[in-house]
Structure formats: C-alpha cells, structure tokens
Assembly symmetry: C2
Homo-oligomer: 148 residues x 2
DNA sequence: CCTAACAGTTAGGTTACCTAAATATCAAGG
DNA sequence: CCTTGATATTTAGGTAACCTAACTGTTAGG
C-alpha cells in the first residue's frame, strides 16, 4: 500500500513535470526564433571558444549525431564565426575554433538572451526565483541520467 | 550599487536557467524520439479528448501556426486517432475529436511517458523531488508570460 | 446584399535532424 | 613494413515539423 502510494506520487509528479517540459520547449522555441543564432549554434560557438573543440565532442555535447553537428559548424564557418583546422595530434580530427567575430557573437547573443530571460525572471517573486534556483541543479542531474 | 547587484544576480540566474532550458530541450527530444506519437501530436490528441477542439485553439495551445496544427491533425486522422467534423455552431470551423483508438493511444502514451519520467525522478532524493515540485508552477508562470 | 474579417486548407519553402556510404587516418599484429 | 579493423569527419539523400502566402468558404455588420 505504502509503496503504491509512493509510486502514485511519483507518477503524478512525472505528469506535472512532463507538462512543464513541454512548455519549456515552447519557451525555448520562442526565444530561438527571435535571435539570429540558434541555441544549438550558440552552443557550438561556446565550445569553440577556448582552443577549439572536435566535431564528435560538439555533437555529443549537443545531443545530436555527428553529421548534424557538421552541418551547424559549416553554417557558422560560412558566417565567419568559426574556422576549421586540422588537429595537430590526430589528422583524422578537425578542431573547430571561434574567430574574433565568433567570440563577439557569443558575447552579444549571451547578453541578449540573458537579458530576455532576466526580464522574465524579474517579474517573479523572490520565493519563486529561489524555487527556480533550487531546481536547476536537479535538472542538470536529470539531463545527465538521460544521456546514458 | 544595490540595484546593480540585484541585476547581476538576476542575470546570473538567467544564465543558469538558460543552460537548464537547453538541457531540457534535449531530454524532451530524447523522450520524443523513443515514442511513436510526438509530444505535439499527443498534445493535439489530449485537446481532442473532450468533445473536440477547434484547429485554431489547438494551434494556439501548441504554440504553432494554424497550418502546422492542420498538418499534425491530418496525420492523426490518417492514423485513425481523431476525426474532423463540422462545427455545428460555425461552419467555417472544424472540430477535432478523438476516436476510441485515439483515446486508447493517449492513455498508452501517457502511461509510458510517465513511467519513463518517474523512473528518472525515482533516482532523485526526496529533497530533489521537492525542489522540482516547487519549481513547476513557476515554469508554468514563465511560460504564460512568454505567450503574450 | 456586400464587404471585411475570420477559420481552415493547400502549396511551396526552410531548417534541423537522421542513416548510410565514402574518405582519410590511426594503431596494432604479423 | 603492411594490412586490417577501428575511428573521425564529410557527403548524399531523406524525413518531420515548422513557416508564409495564397485560396476557399462562412459569418456578420453597415
């Protein structure tokens, strides 16, 4: 009995959680549609900031397959925001590194997006902001458990 | 000074929040890719459960334009999960109603998805689950503030 | 009635994914 | 060395979900 109650509570939480997830996806889509750089491209660019990242690593971090990452990288390259160069240690690999323009674009996009989100968070009460803050590391943990 | 500190804290929270949003989008994508019914289609189906929903309302609720909603509705109709019928009050409008098969599909998909999410939430501590639960209504509020 | 506004569908295009196949390089064993 | 299997990326081709613009039919106000 007790165990079933726990299960029921968990399933109820799961249901609410799923609704929140769905809404968040829409929020994200909205946010993305108002910017030049998609959030996936911004993610690539950030990985390319320090020293350069490999295509496989970028794909893994983005949660997509390698060809999809390549596609975004090529777009960023055409936009002059990253450059692709041979990996000195492994000639099979490609290192993707941000250009100066790329670096500037990250700062710009980050600032704009943070201000947009901060504008929304600013309408919340302190308690609500605290609730969000407390939940964020849990979302991180959830994400990691889905990865595997 | 004080105001700027508040701004900085808000921007920092916004930054962490954005990272969580991005991760959640990936969790959602993963979840969707393992199911027959996309979460958008499941959303349509749920709106079609009680009495029937209009295409425009479905689109609004889904956060997409009307033609995109029509497209999903047609797919569901071809799969035998909804039927489209004239609105008795307004012949311009179409009412989308779930069939018996559609009703069953909702129950099935909901159960599967809830169990998947519950499986993840079950690995969390009680405190972590509480943190998630406390944050969910805030996400709801955020979503509403983005809608306008 | 006529006309503007509205509800949906159709047509055509874009973007972000995916899988499978091709290319190039690496590393380990014989 | 040289082959062979694994690894890193790109290319080719396809799908699904979205969009805007244009079209059809219906309603409702002047």
């Amino acid at each position: 009995m007790n165990i079933n109650q726990a299960d029921d509570a968990l399933l109820a939480l799961a249901q609410s959680f799923r609704e929140a997830l769905r809404q968040i996806v829409y929020v994200m889509r909205r946010l993305d549609s108002e910017e030049q750089l998609s959030s996936a491209q911004l993610g690539v660019l950030k990985m390319a900031l320090d020293g350069g990242a490999r295509v496989g690593g970028i794909a893994r971090n983005l949660g997509v397959k390698v060809p999809s990452a390549t596609e975004q990288i090529i777009k960023l390259e055409r936009a002059g925001l990253v450059k692709r160069e041979a990996d000195p240690d492994d000639s099979r690999a490609v290192r993707v590194a941000a250009t100066a323009a790329g670096r500037a674009a990250v700062e710009n996009a980050d600032r704009r997006r943070n201000q947009y989100i901060a504008g929304i968070l600013g309408t919340l009460s302190q308690e609500e902001r605290d609730a969000v803050e407390a939940a964020l590391p849990v979302f991180d943990k959830i994400n990691n458990s889905v990865q595997n």
